[in-house]
């Protein structure tokens, strides 16, 4: 075999040994494995490995860490050199120095063929390792950018279905901190209807609650402070952080909140500067968050409106059930009664009660408030009247019993006005009690008008209230008209009320009409007066007339 063949064979064998040595203790870091391989192959007493990182040498491994061999010599270029009793071997590949091997205790201290071979082999290994890391880092970066895009997309999707502002705020804050690698963050959102601001933080509050009002940032733009975040940043006072990034959460012309992240982390524990790319990302996030917060609030308001409308429909249904479906027919008496409900359900009620001896009881009541509570109180009064009417000797006794019932069972601050009358055709009298109700109108056959004023306080208003019963003659052709304030307080575009005087004039202008037609005429008169203006109170009117020939 020739010398050349022997050298080639030894070279291949050395190469194989070098790579095999690298596989031993494969779970150790690469510099340690290179050092171990070099120790074995070169027969050195000591070996140290330096890596070239950002144009600086870094000691990556030393088999004798007690006494550092010092930095590689400046004249280390592309060949091994002896320096300070060590052989310094550059680890190169493709013309770039990736590291350096320092060997001590070789038999021949000068540059050797073996050392040069090790330099090439381990240089290539380091280069491959570095390339692999670069590829991995690049792959990681691409995935991180994809994650940013996906997060923006997800935020838009998930937030549109979110009804809980707190959960929404958490989601926005968590994603913002995560995607900017911030160590901490705070999100402030304006409270609804004067409520205090919603505040969410990770790693401690870096914004005080008042920042929700005081921030001074151009719409849609972020402010970076990489110098001293503990001084106000674009008018936002921050605390307990070194570097920060603040972004407004706003819709055109409206502030919704403010988002701040701080102290961007690095793998080596340093606090990094926030970059314009971070600012752009956070501004995009804030835009998504603003749209989501706005949508959530609008969605909640729509649901609340829907709930109220359902409640009003229910209240209206309760009320309709309580009104008489058909009016009683009594000899000698002519009756009419109607209610015009408004959109907001009020608490109007009327009813007729045929009594013994051809008498007729009738009631018009108006409960304070609107909606379900008012409808329920009407229901209570309705039940109380039906339960107590037969057991009561007089109207005052009946009204007192209803009052006691209300005092006991109705909610606080709820009361009602009521006009209760009893027509006695036999005696030609009208008896009545008016519990704080609008004056009923007694229209004589002659056209003469009398107002039947209150004879006591509203029911359910004060404990131990008292009422008196009044009696007036009620002859053939006489008429009594009871109504609720929604009738006389109906307003037109000039905010003028229909009024009692106008009602009396309208009533007497064609008094001879049948009761039903007279009632319709009065409702029409109010509608004409109001000129289509929306009314906010129910209008109820009841008429009892004694037939002229009775």
């Amino acid at each position: 075999m020739s010398d050349s063949a022997i050298r080639t064979s030894a070279g291949v064998e050395g190469l194989a040994k070098a790579f095999s040595a690298l596989r031993i203790e494969g779970d150790k870091p690469l510099p340690a494995r290179i050092a171990a391989a070099a120790l074995t192959l070169a027969g050195a007493r000591r070996v140290a490995i330096y890596l070239r990182e950002r144009d600086r040498w870094q000691l990556a491994f030393d088999s004798d860490p007690g006494s550092g061999p010092g930095d590689p010599p400046d004249r280390l270029l592309d060949a091994a050199v002896s320096h300070r009793g060590l052989l310094w071997v550059p680890l190169e590949a493709e013309g770039e120095t990736h590291g350096c091997l320092a060997l001590e205790g070789l038999e021949d201290d000068g540059p050797t063929e073996l050392a040069a071979g090790l330099g090439l082999i381990f240089g290539a290994v380091l280069a491959a390792n570095r390339l692999s890391r670069l590829v991995k880092d690049a792959e990681f970066e691409i995935k991180a950018r994809l994650l940013e895009l996906e997060s923006l997309y997800d935020l838009g999707l998930s937030l549109t279905g979110q009804l809980d502002i707190s959960a929404l705020a958490d989601e926005v804050l968590y994603r913002s901190i995560s995607l900017t690698d911030a160590g901490k963050g705070t999100l402030l959102v304006f409270g609804e209807r004067g409520a205090p601001p919603l505040s969410r933080s990770v790693g401690g509050d870096i914004l005080p609650p008042e920042a929700v009002r005081t921030w001074d940032l151009p719409a849609g733009e972020a402010a970076i402070n990489n110098d001293a975040a503990n001084v106000p940043t674009a008018g936002v006072q921050l605390a307990d952080c070194q570097k920060c990034l603040v972004v407004p959460i706003a819709m055109p012309g409206r502030r919704l909140g403010v988002l701040a992240v701080a102290d961007k982390e690095s793998r080596d524990g340093r606090v990094l500067d926030f970059t314009p790319a971070d600012a752009r990302l956070l501004a995009l996030f804030a835009n998504q968050a603003a749209a989501a917060i706005d949508t959530t609030r609008l969605h909640r308001e729509a649901l609340e409106k829907e709930r109220i409308e359902r409640e009003l429909e229910l209240a209206a249904a309760i009320q309709r059930q309580l009104l008489p479906r058909e009016l009683p027919r009594l000899a000698g008496l002519e009756l009419a009664g109607s209610t015009l409900p408004t959109r907001q359900v009020g608490g109007d009620y009327f009813d007729f009660f045929p009594l013994s001896g051809g008498r007729l009881g009738f009631v018009v009541a108006d409960v304070s408030g609107k909606g379900i509570p008012a409808a329920l109180l009407v229901s209570t009064v309705h039940a109380a009247i039906y339960l107590q009417i037969d057991a009561s000797e007089t109207i005052v006794e009946l009204v007192s019993r209803i009052d006691k019932h209300l005092q006991r069972f109705s909610a606080a601050h709820k009361f009602l006005t009521l006009f209760f009358g009893v027509v006695e055709p036999g005696s030609g009298l009208l008896r009545y009690v008016s519990a704080g109700h609008n004056p009923a109108i007694l229209a004589r056959r002659s056209g003469q008008i009398e107002r039947l004023s209150a004879t006591g306080v509203p029911l359910g208003l004060v404990p131990n209230g008292s009422w008196t019963e009044e009696t007036v003659p009620f002859g053939p052709g006489d008429l009594v008209c009871a109504y609720t304030d929604g009738f006389t307080e109906a307003t037109n575009a000039d905010e003028e009320e229909f009024g009692l005087d106008r009602l009396e004039r309208e009533l007497t202008s064609d008094l001879g009409l049948p009761a039903r037609e007279l009632s319709d005429r009065l409702f029409r008169a109010v509608a004409v007066f109001a000129q289509g203006m929306p009314q906010y109170d129910d209008q109820t009117l009841l008429i009892v007339r004694r037939e002229p020939n009775s």
């Binding site: 494969g26 779970d27 792959e139 990681f140 995935k143 991180a144 994809l146 994650l147 996906e150 997060s151 997800d154 958490d170 989601e171 968590y174 994603r175 901190i177 995560s178 995607l179 690698d181 911030a182 160590g183 901490k184 990770v202 790693g203 401690g204 982390e265 690095s266 793998r267 524990g269």
Partner: protein
């Protein structure tokens, strides 16, 4: 969620369950790695990371988890995740962690899948 990530370790035979509480960032990731390497040195054949009390993971935390995963694979052991929020679940899938580590909804399912003994 606590400011600093806490990691607790529970052994189920030759399986170690590491439960995190808090932000998996640099500090949190290092804490997980430290505990994971201790358990690997002790010879566990599977690591389960329960992230039920974690709501945020940043890219540094993910890179450390990738290092842990590489170490686990070098040791021919198994890594599994459980208790992930939907956001973290998606993050792990995009960042490639789910390629080599299975994700289970609950710790019980993860334990069952890796064949943990009592």
């Amino acid at each position: 969620m606590s400011e600093t990530c806490k990691v607790s370790v529970e052994r189920r035979g030759d399986v170690a369950v590491l439960s995190t509480d808090g932000y998996i960032n640099n500090q949190g990731g290092e804490e997980i790695a430290r505990e994971a390497y201790v358990e690997l040195e002790k010879g566990v054949r599977a690591l389960i990371l329960n992230l039920q009390k974690t709501r945020i993971v940043n890219s540094i935390g993910i890179s450390i988890l990738i290092e842990v995963l590489e170490k686990v694979m070098e040791r021919k052991a198994v890594l599994a995740f459980c208790g992930l929020t939907p956001t973290i679940d998606k993050t792990f899938r995009i960042m490639g962690l789910a390629q080599y580590a299975a994700i289970y909804p609950t710790e019980e399912e993860a334990l069952q899948a890796v064949g943990a003994t009592a």
